[in-house]
Symmetry: C2
Subunit: 383 residues, 2 copies
Amino acid sequence: MAAHRQDPAVPARRARSAAPATIAEVAAEAGVGKATAARALGNYGAVSPDARARVLAAAEKLRYRPNSLARSMTTGVTQTIGVIVADISNPFFAGVIRGIADALDATQYTAIVLSADEKLAKEKAAVGVLMDKQVDAIILASAALLPDQTEHILEAMSRNIPIVLIDRKVRGLDLDAVVINNREAARDAVRRFVELGHRRIGFVWGPAVRDGARDRAGVLAAAEIRLWSETERLRGYTEALDEAGIPFDPVLVTSCDHNEEATVGAFGAMLALPDPATAVLTTETDALVGTLRAIRDAGLKHPDDISIIGFDDSSWASVMAPPLTMIAQPMLELGRAAARHALARITGDDFDVVVETIPAALVPRASLAPPRAPAGVTAGGGR
Amino acid sequence: MAAHRQDPAVPARRARSAAPATIAEVAAEAGVGKATAARALGNYGAVSPDARARVLAAAEKLRYRPNSLARSMTTGVTQTIGVIVADISNPFFAGVIRGIADALDATQYTAIVLSADEKLAKEKAAVGVLMDKQVDAIILASAALLPDQTEHILEAMSRNIPIVLIDRKVRGLDLDAVVINNREAARDAVRRFVELGHRRIGFVWGPAVRDGARDRAGVLAAAEIRLWSETERLRGYTEALDEAGIPFDPVLVTSCDHNEEATVGAFGAMLALPDPATAVLTTETDALVGTLRAIRDAGLKHPDDISIIGFDDSSWASVMAPPLTMIAQPMLELGRAAARHALARITGDDFDVVVETIPAALVPRASLAPPRAPAGVTAGGGR
DNA sequence: CTGTTAGCGCTTTCAT
DNA sequence: ATGAAAGCGCTAACAG
C-alpha cells in the first residue's frame, strides 16, 4: 500500500511496489559485482564471456531497464535533443519535427518536443525546462523579434548548450541556423506574376503598420520588427517589384492581424480598390485561406480574376478547383539538417557558426493566368 | 561532413567549463547549509525570512537552476508526462498535443512528445524511452491492432506507469481512454446521405480484404484487425445502411492501401461502376483528398454528381468550391481530457478504468445534395 | 528553524 | 577481468 502524504510542494514518491530492478539487483542475481554488471549491460570495458552471459540472463529475468536519469546523472549526458517549435499545430513544424526524428532515428539520440504556441513567455519556459532536463542540444524556432527578447537563448548559450535555430534567424544572435530561402522564393513568385503581366500584386500578410506610416518606408520599417522569415518574404516581394519597375503600393500589403478572419476583411478591401490586386502572394496557410474566402465573397474566381501563389504546399492545394500554385517548403529536409547540425555541435566540433539555407520549390499548378484586361479596354493579350 | 567519432557506448562527458551552479555552491555563497538552501529554493519546509532572502540572492547571483535530473533521482518523480502520437504530421494529433499542453500549462507538469509514425516498432521504442526517462504517465495513441502487439504497453503497466489511450482503444486492454464517438459520427453522416435519398454510398477507407473474401462478413472481419477507430467508423456505416434497409455492397468500401495515390484509383473504380456511388464518407484527410482527385479526374462535380462528408475538419474544407461538409473532431478537448485523466492517475486516485467519449460535430456545408436521378429516369425527386 | 547524513541508480577510477 | 568505493546534485530523515 503506498502511503500518500499530501505535501503540496513535494509530490508523493511513486509507489515502489513495482520498483524496477536496479543494476545492483541484477549483479546480485548474476553473482557478480555491480561494476561488472554495468560493463556487461553497457557494453563497454572488458567482461568475461561467462560473466556477461550470466548478467544478461539475470537482467532478462528481472526485466532490468536502465534508469536513464541515473545514467545521465553520472555521465552528464542525456542523449536527448530538445526541440521547441513555434506552433505544433502548424503542419510546417510538424514536418520539421518529423525530419528531426528521422535523422535521429539512426542515432542513440531522442528528440523531445515542446510547443511555444508563438508565445515568447512559453518559449522561455520551454528553454528553461530543457536546460533543467539537461538536454544535450536545443533546436529552436524562436518567436523572438528583438535582441532584448533573447535572454533565454543567451542563457542557454552561456551554459554551453548548443542551439540550432530553425525556420527563423533571430536578429542579433550569431547561431547555427537552418532556414528556407524565403526572400528568393517570394521574389521568384512575384516575378512569375510580373511575367504574366501583373502590376497590381498583393502581399498577404504584411506587418501591421500605424495608418500614418503606411508608406514604403513605414511598411519596411515595421517589417524589421517582425519574424525574420516574414521580413525576408516581404523583401523578396519588394525586390521583384523594384526589378520590374512597379511602384510599391502600401495598399497592396495587408496590415491586419495574422489570422484568417482579419484577412478576409483586409483582402476584401484590396479587391474593392478602384485598381484592385490582380495577383496575390500569401505567406502562410491561414493567410491563403482568408484570402480565398475574400475572393469567394467578392464573387471572383481564380485564376481568371486573380492569380494566386501561396507559401506552404499542402495536399489540399492540389484539389482546389483549380489547383493552387504553391511554394513547397522542404520541411523534412530542414528538420534533418537541423538535427545534423545539433549532433555535430554535441560531438564538440568547434567549427564556425553555420547557416544552412534550403531552397523552397515552386509547385506550379493552375492558379496563374494573365490579368484580366482592365475594364474599358478590349481583351486581347497586351505585351 | 562533420567528423563523427563512433564511440558507441559512452558519449563524451559534456565540457564542465560552464558548469552550472549547484545547490551546495548556492548554500556556501549564502552562508547556510545545503538543506536550508534546498528548502528556500524548493519552497518547502520552514526557512527564516532572513535565510531565505540570502539564499535567493545567492541563487540569483550564481544563476542557479535546479538540475531536474538530480531532483527526480531522489524524489522518484519527474513531473513529466510522455506523449506518444501515432503521427505528428497528422493535424489531428497536432491538435491533441496542443490540448494536452494547454491542460498541463496550469500545472507543474511538462509534456514531452514523441511520434511513432504509425509504426509499432517505433512506438515500442518510444515507450521504452519514456519508461527509462521515468515519466510519471504516458498518453498514447497506439498503432497496436492485436492483443499480441501490446507487450510494450503491458510492460509499462506492470511498472505501474499510468497510461491513457487517446483516439484509439486497444483491443484486449482495459485502460483509461479518451476517444471520439466514431461509430455514431459515421452513422449520422450516412444517415444524412440516406435522408437525401442516396442508396449508393461509398466508404473510403475500408480495410484491405483479399479479393475472395470481399463480402459483408469478409469486410467486417478484416475491419476487426484494423485500428479500433477505423473499425468503429465502418460499423457506423453499416449500421446506418441496415437501418435504412440498404444492402451492404462491398464494392462501395475501398480495399486499397491507405494513401492518397491508391485512393485515387480505388475511388475512381467506384465511380466507374455501372451503378456508381452517389455519396461518399471519407475517414481521413488523405482519403478525402484522394477521393476528390478521383472525382475531378472523372470530370464530376460535388455535390451535383456526388455528395461528400469527410472526417477531420480543416480550414481548407471551408474554401473548397463548394465548401465541404466535414466531421470536426474536438482534438483540443480530447487532449485536455487525456491530460486530466493522466494527472488524476498520477495523483494516485485508485479509481476504476474510465473511458471518456467526446462527440465529434458535423459541420454542414454545401457538399450535400440529393442524388442525380439515374440515367433514363426523368428528374423530379422520388421518395 | 537549521545542519548533518544518507541515499536515489548509475558510471567510473583505482586497486586487485 | 573484476570488485570496492566514490560521487553526480538533489531531497529527506533525523538530530539538534
